[in-house]
C-alpha cells in the first residue's frame, strides 16, 4: 500500500478524481440550492416567457419593435444593436489606431509627440467616463429647431444626427449590413488565402468581380424587399414640429458610444500596431528601400503586412475586448444586448434564464470573432515559423 501511495501515476489519478468529485459536489449543491430557492419563492422556470409580450418600450432599434412585441423579439433587437455598435466601434478604432500608429513611427518628431500625447491621454481615462462625456456633449447639441447644418442635408442636434437616407425598413438595413460584412469577409479571404495566390491574374480578377457583384446584388435585393411603400426611395430629413422626420437618424446614444470606443480602443490599437511596426526587422525595410520602393510602397507592401502578421493575435484580443465594451450601452441608454436583458429581468423576473441567454450570446459572438480572426491569422501566417 505505501508503495502504491508513492506511485506517481496513482497519485495523479487520485488527485484528478478528487478534483472532479469536489467540482461535482459544488455544482450539485448549487443546483439543488437554486431549485429550493425557486420553489420557496414560487417562481416559474423555463423559457416559455420568451413568447410573452414585454410591455416595455426601448429607445433605438433597427428591427421592428414596440411594447406589444415578445421577449424573443426584444432579445433579437439587443443582439442586432450590439453587433452594429461592436462592428462600428471596431472598424473606427482600427482607422484611428492606424493613423495614430503611423504618426508614432514617422520620422517627424512633432507627429511622434502628438501620437504619444493622444495615447497617454485617452488610455488613462476610464471608457465609461469617456462615453458619458461624449453622451453629455452630444445631447447638449442644440435642439432640432436650431440644428447645426455643417453640410446640406446633415443636421447635428441633441436628438441625434440626421442625414438623408433610403426609405427602407430597419430589417432591410440590418440585412444589408450583414451582406456587406459577409462580402468583405469573403473578399478578404479570397485576396489573402494562400490557396488563391497561385491562380492567374485574369481569374483572380473574375473572382473579385464575382464576389463584389454577388454582394451588391444581395444588398439590392434586401433593399428592394424592405422598401417602405408609397415613399420616395431617398428621403431627406425635414423639420416637422419639434423634431426631424424622414432620412436616416443616428441616435445620440450610438454616436456617443461609437466615438468613445473609437477613441479609447484606437489608443490601444495604435499601441499594438506601433509595437508591430517596430518589431519588423530594419533589414527588411532597408532591403525594400534598396530595391527602389518608394516610402509609401515600403509601408504598404512590406512594413504594414509584416507588422499586421506580428500583431494579429493581440489585435484579436483587442477586438473581443471592444466588442465586450458595447455593454456600456446601459450607462447611456443604448439598447444593446446587456441593456435589453437587464430590463427583461426587471420586467419578467426570469433571472437565471435571461442571464444564461446573455452569457451564451456573448460566448457565441466573441468566439465567432476569435474564430474568424484566427482563421485569418492561419491564412496569412508566415510559413515555417
Amino acid at each position: 500500500m505505501p508503495s502504491l501511495l508513492r506511485n506517481r501515476k496513482f497519485r495523479s489519478a487520485t488527485l484528478q478524481v478528487l478534483f472532479v468529485l469536489a467540482v461535482m459536489v459544488i455544482l450539485v449543491s448549487a443546483v439543488t440550492t437554486a431549485q429550493d430557492t425557486i420553489a420557496t419563492n414560487g417562481m416559474r422556470s423555463g423559457f416559455g416567457f420568451l413568447d410573452r409580450t414585454t410591455g416595455v418600450n426601448i429607445g433605438f432599434s433597427v428591427l421592428q419593435y414596440d411594447a406589444n412585441s415578445t421577449y424573443r423579439q426584444l432579445i433579437l433587437v439587443g443582439l442586432v444593436n450590439t453587433a452594429i455598435l461592436g462592428i462600428l466601434g471596431i472598424i473606427l478604432a482600427h482607422i484611428v489606431g492606424l493613423v495614430v500608429a503611423a504618426m508614432a513611427i514617422s520620422r517627424n518628431g512633432s507627429l511622434n509627440l502628438v501620437a504619444q500625447g493622444y495615447v497617454e491621454l485617452f488610455r488613462s481615462i476610464p471608457l465609461i467616463l469617456q462615453a458619458l462625456f461624449w453622451y453629455a456633449l452630444v445631447t447638449h447639441l442644440p435642439a432640432p429647431r436650431n440644428a447645426h447644418e455643417p453640410l446640406p442635408g446633415l443636421f447635428l442636434t441633441g436628438r441625434g444626427i440626421f442625414m438623408p437616407g433610403l426609405s427602407v425598413t430597419g430589417e432591410a438595413v440590418a440585412l444589408v449590413l450583414g451582406c456587406l460584412l459577409l462580402g468583405a469577409i469573403a473578399f478578404a479571404w479570397f485576396m489573402i488565402d494562400h490557396r488563391f495566390r497561385r491562380i492567374s491574374d485574369s481569374r483572380r480578377r473574375t473572382g473579385r468581380l464575382v464576389i463584389i457583384g454577388l454582394t451588391l446584388l444581395a444588398c439590392a435585393l434586401a433593399l428592394n424587399a424592405g422598401r417602405v411603400p408609397d415613399m420616395p426611395l431617398i428621403s431627406v430629413p425635414e423639420l416637422r414640429g419639434l423634431n426631424f422626420r424622414g432620412g436616416f437618424a443616428l441616435p445620440p446614444e450610438l454616436t456617443a458610444l461609437a466615438i468613445a470606443i473609437a477613441i479609447y480602443g484606437g489608443a490601444y490599437v495604435s499601441e499594438i500596431l506601433r509595437a508591430g511596426f517596430q518589431a519588423v526587422p530594419r533589414g527588411q525595410l532597408e532591403a525594400a528601400a534598396a530595391l527602389g520602393l518608394r516610402p509609401l510602397h515600403v509601408f504598404t507592401r512590406v512594413h504594414l503586412p509584416m507588422a499586421f502578421r506580428a500583431v494579429l493575435p493581440t489585435l484579436t484580443n483587442q477586438c473581443v475586448w471592444m466588442f465586450k465594451a458595447t455593454t456600456l450601452g446601459i450607462a447611456v441608454g443604448y439598447s444593446d444586448l446587456f441593456y435589453v436583458i437587464s430590463i427583461s429581468i426587471t420586467q419578467s423576473g426570469q433571472t437565471l434564464e435571461l442571464i444564461g441567454i446573455l452569457m451564451l450570446g456573448f460566448l457565441v459572438m466573441n468566439n465567432m470573432i476569435s474564430f474568424l480572426l484566427n482563421r485569418l491569422n492561419k491564412a496569412i501566417a508566415l510559413k515555417g515559423t
Binding site: D201, R294, M306
Partner: protein, 246 residues
C-alpha cells in the same frame, strides 16, 4: 556618357559626434569589380550603404551614375532603381513567396506587368539555379538558397551596379561556394560590383581592385596581386596575416 559608375569625393560621415568615415575618395568605373575588406567596425558597411543612400553622408559628395546624391527625393529614387544590394542577412520578405519577392519591386517601381515581371524573375531564378523554389517561402529555404534568391531579387531590377555587404558571412561553409559561384558568374558578365567580403580567394580571382579600410579610412587601394603579395601599409599586413592564418 562617361564610364564612371561611382565617384566619391572627400566624404565624411558621423553618427552623432562619432566619425565613422573619414575623407573617403573612391572612383569605380563601369564594369569594375571592387572588393572592400578591413577589420570589424572599420566602416565598410557604412560606406556601401552610403552609395545607395541607406545612410546619408554629411560632407563631401557622392555621385552615382551621373546623379549627385543629395536631399532630393528624386535622386534617391533614381539611384535605388539602378543600384542593387545584397545583405549579410538576406532580408527576404518572409510574407511573400520567392517569386513574389522577386516581382514586387519590378512591378511597383519599374511598372512591369505581372507577366513580364514573372518572366524576368524566373529567368534570374534560373541563373541562380533555384527555379524550382519559385513558390516556396523564404523560411523553407536553406541559407545559401535564400542568399541566391536575394541576389536574384536584386538582379530582377536590372541594376547597373550591385552592392554586396558580406553576402557569405552568415552562411555555413558548404553554402558559401554556391553563392560565390553565382557572384563569379555575375562578374564574368561584366556587372559593376562593390563587394564587402573577407573571401580572399574570391577577391584574388575576381576583383579588379582591393580596398582596405581601417578606422573609417581607406588605408590601401591596390590590384589584388600587389595587395596580397606586397601590401604597402603596416595595418594591411597585420590584417592579412590574421585572415590568411586560417
Amino acid at each position: 556618357m562617361t564610364d564612371t559608375a561611382i565617384q566619391i569625393r572627400r566624404m565624411n560621415k558621423f553618427y552623432g559626434s562619432f566619425q565613422v568615415l573619414r575623407d573617403i575618395n573612391l572612383t569605380v568605373r563601369k564594369g569594375e569589380r571592387i572588393v572592400i575588406c578591413g577589420p570589424s567596425g572599420s566602416g565598410k558597411s557604412t560606406l556601401i550603404r552610403c552609395i545607395n543612400r541607406l545612410e546619408d553622408h554629411q560632407d563631401g559628395s557622392i555621385n552615382v551614375l551621373g546623379t549627385e546624391l543629395n536631399e532630393d527625393v528624386g535622386s534617391i529614387d533614381l539611384i535605388r532603381r539602378e543600384v542593387g544590394m545584397v545583405f549579410q542577412h538576406f532580408n527576404l520578405f518572409p510574407h511573400l513567396t520567392v517569386l513574389e519577392n522577386c516581382t514586387l519591386a519590378p512591378m511597383l517601381v519599374r511598372r512591369f506587368s505581372r507577366a513580364e515581371a514573372e518572366r524576368v524573375a524566373r529567368e534570374y531564378l534560373e541563373r541562380v539555379r533555384i527555379p524550382e523554389k519559385a513558390d516556396a517561402f523564404p523560411s523553407e529555404l536553406s541559407g545559401g538558397q535564400q542568399q541566391r534568391v536575394a541576389i536574384a531579387r536584386a538582379l530582377c531590377m536590372r541594376p547597373e551596379i550591385l552592392l554586396f555587404d558580406e553576402p557569405t558571412s552568415a552562411l555555413d561553409p558548404e553554402m558559401i561556394n554556391e553563392v560565390l559561384d553565382v557572384m563569379r558568374e555575375l562578374a564574368m558578365d561584366g556587372m559593376t560590383m562593390v563587394c564587402v567580403t573577407h573571401e580572399m580567394g574570391f577577391a584574388r580571382q575576381v576583383a579588379d581592385r582591393v580596398i582596405f579600410m581601417s578606422n573609417g579610412e581607406i588605408v590601401e587601394e591596390n590590384t589584388p596581386e600587389a595587395f596580397f603579395t606586397n601590401p604597402r601599409n603596416e595595418r594591411t599586413r597585420g590584417f592579412l596575416a590574421k585572415i590568411l592564418a586560417h
